[in-house]
Symmetry: C5
């Protein structure tokens, strides 16, 4: 049975899943959270249990194997609950959205929150870094052999979830994939998944992301060669891939 968690800007329409570890993946630089989320759904065969609705979201449906689905969905599986969005949340909604999600977690006695983000670096070195919303939560990250991001800002829903969870005493942490550019980076997402595997004792296979990365890289390489030889079209368009 679906339950509504409502406030001024948005409504969570979802089944209640108690005692879960909650993951949040929304698009950001490198698209890390979104790529990680889609892989988890596929690999862990997670079940869609609801969605978030808001009149302040951009008008949009997402196609998945030809079927239009909500752009912000909620999944569950293996004791995890995943909030997965396919669009960048308008800043003005983030505050209320965060409140609704934390209210949901509180009511469902969620164990902890893990959110995904990225950090732009000049050269990849540690691949994944972490941060948390309390010293205790930070200690746990320390055991994962990843560096801690000591200073800086965490923008978007990642940031507000960390502080809002702190107020409600829900341990929360953030994994940052190192990226070189703002473009989608499945390889960085794969590294984040490897850390998540260690954190949660999962065995999610990152092979699909590495293949995707290779495909992107090879496409870019070919494009670069082509650009060298010929003139690029001024308005390149995308040929759709049909099923």
């Amino acid at each position: 049975m679906k339950v509504e968690t409502k406030n001024e800007s948005c409504t969570i329409v979802s089944e209640e899943i108690e005692n879960a570890i909650v993951l949040e993946g929304s698009p950001g630089l490198g698209l890390i959270g979104n790529i990680v989320g889609w892989l988890l759904v596929d690999d862990l065969k997670m079940r869609e249990i609801g969605y978030i609705d808001s009149k302040y979201f951009p008008p949009l449906a997402v196609l998945y194997r030809g079927v239009a689905i909500h752009p912000f969905r909620i999944y569950e599986g293996e004791g995890l609950v995943l909030f997965l969005s396919d669009f960048i949340l308008p800043s003005s909604v983030v505050y209320d959205m965060t409140n609704a999600m934390v209210k949901w977690m509180k009511r469902n006695n969620s164990k902890e929150l893990i959110t995904f983000n990225s950090v732009i670096v000049r050269q990849k070195s540690h691949l994944v870094a972490g941060a948390a919303n309390s010293k205790d939560a930070l200690k746990r990250l320390g055991k994962l052999d990843i560096p801690i991001l000591p200073f800086g800002n965490i923008n978007g829903i990642s940031g507000t979830l960390l502080t809002r969870c702190a107020i409600e005493n829900i341990p929360a942490s953030c994994l940052f994939g190192e990226i070189l550019t703002p473009y989608p980076d499945p390889r960085a997402a794969a590294e984040v998944v490897e850390v998540l595997n260690k954190m949660l004792g999962l065995e999610v296979d990152t092979e699909p992301l590495l293949e995707e990365a290779q495909a992107i890289e090879s496409r870019l390489k070919k494009l670069a060669e082509k650009v060298h030889k010929t003139e690029t079209p001024t308005t390149p368009t995308e040929t759709p891939i049909y099923m």
Copy 2:
């Protein structure tokens, strides 16, 4: 008798037509939905049964044979109901508009929804593609010998209608005309109508669209030749065509 379906942003003022198949045509890239809609009205001699009103619409009237009409009208005929708009809906209205339309469909026990859209391609190949809002709805499209658009985003009211209908268990599908540029493409609209004919057992004649396409293409060709020979005026204006 006209009935009002009202919410915060808009009001549907329309007769009640029960058990209809609902079509939605609004302007988008290639103007597909709008061109298809106008052809259906003419060919099927559909009757205007209402309009949608909103203080958030741009101030605008549309001329039809010298008579000013509402920019968002509702027609019926041959068991079909058509929502036809002549302007791009402001994003902020789409949410409430979608809710009002789905409420209308629910109350009038509408059988299904078909919306029109476009997909920009480098080269036209399949001419028309499809998507739906459930696996069942998708199966039906499979019988039409058109490819399914597996991934991607559906923007605008097309997208939100698909997901909102899914929540209310109304089968819905979207037909995408392949276009090369964002400009009006009556030829692509004609292809969409051919598929619609097959889907609904109609015999709408697409000849007018093909003629229009030819006229546009010949005009563009002449313009290109002219541009070759002479200087183009810096502020080209449109000579109106009088009745």
Copy 3:
């Protein structure tokens, strides 16, 4: 006695004039409606009977012979009521403004509405064109020996007045002056007045507009010659004309 016709965005403060023919002149391309309106006020010695007030109007007063007057005024005379504004209405107010005006007309049993607009052409041919809000209203225009504008959009309050009057069964028509540029065109306004004279059996003298047109044209000609000879100032300013 002045009566208030009020809604969320604006208030009409005006005397009640029953059974009038209502004219609406607001600035648009070519400034047709506004120029026509000012001429009617002068020629027909119309009396100011009210104004429209809105917190959404730009802060502005208009000087008339040294006296500051409301930027949106209402006049009456010879069985006519004229709504005359000297600024472009913000889009967001047009909906409520139209509703207030139509409510006023309904209550005062107004006979019909005539609004003024313009159509940009490459070359002036018919000088004035028309459109209406019903087939009956259109027939009347047919007797005036002016062409009917069959297709296109009517933007602004002209457009919404036509459709809103249609809902309330008030016959309404729009006269479009042909213009070559978006700049003020008193000659085109004069042509519109000639048609209006025929429509309403008036004898408004358009001479002042033709003089004004000549003055503008001669000024532009001189300017063109001057530009030929010397350098134009980069920030040309306007010398005010004192009484």
Copy 4:
């Protein structure tokens, strides 16, 4: 005792001064109203009696001899009340602000309103022009030997005060200083003060403004010479003058 005059957007917090002549000086092109206002405060040793507060004002304090003061203040002295602001009022507040001021004037039985503005000219000739909100008010200006500005728009709070006072039968006039550029012009402000002296029988000394004007002109002259000789800095900054 201070009294609040409140509406949706702003609150006047001020002592009540009855039967006063009310002056309004806010910054505009040439900064005329603001310069005139500051001179009156100094010369007439006017007493601060209140301020206007609004959440829609820009966040701002003004320093006066090292003390932070409200950016919109009210002063009184010699039977005058002066509304003086040091920032450009956001358009959206002008409507409510005007209503609050006129309400204050009505309640305090103010005798008349005088507001200050500017008119850009190619060449200064009459130095100051006038306009009013009724034929009677205009007559009085006629005695001052200044030309009347017959046509044109009065933007900002000057304009709305004139028409709003007309509705409430408060005589109001506007003095326009002639300016050549939009930059602060103390010399033009001095001319306006001379006319005001004649109007109200005051003897405000304009010498400080003429000195200021001379200082600005001499600074500009030096700058021009310097520009001739050397390269200008790309981001010129202002050295603050300490007490």
Copy 5:
């Protein structure tokens, strides 16, 4: 125990600290207030006692030694209370925020307010200047051997706090660090802290700021040399420093 001080736009959630001297440090040109605030927290080992929450703040968390903290925090220590923010307050929130802070101060009987700001100069001379919200408050600054900024505008929350405190009879002053550019200037912040030490009888060590300044200056010098020799990268990215 934390108490809420709430209004339309924001909520202060904080312990009550009575009879404190309140400091306010928010980022502005030169980042003076923010740099001073962070140094005070570290040097005086101030304790976090609350935060300010608003749906109008940008979605953001700040990392401090790997732990996500609120972007607007409140600290106390040594009889001081510090309001410290790490982002530029949206103008639209400043009014309500100021009201909430002054309400908090009033209720907690705060002794005085000191806010930090900057003044751009061509050449640093006096290093720190001051202003206050009353003649009495100004006298106190006079004893500090710093110049008083006589005229000008104080933007942002600094400015509104000064005038709002004046209304509530809370003495308030502002210290301005002289800066040459809008970039972070720890050296200027150090000078402000030296004045604050004198004002409040503190012994805050500014050495960390001077080291930071030296680091920045040496980095800039190296960058300048590098730029001289080689081409600069078009999109320089920041390597994160791990703990």
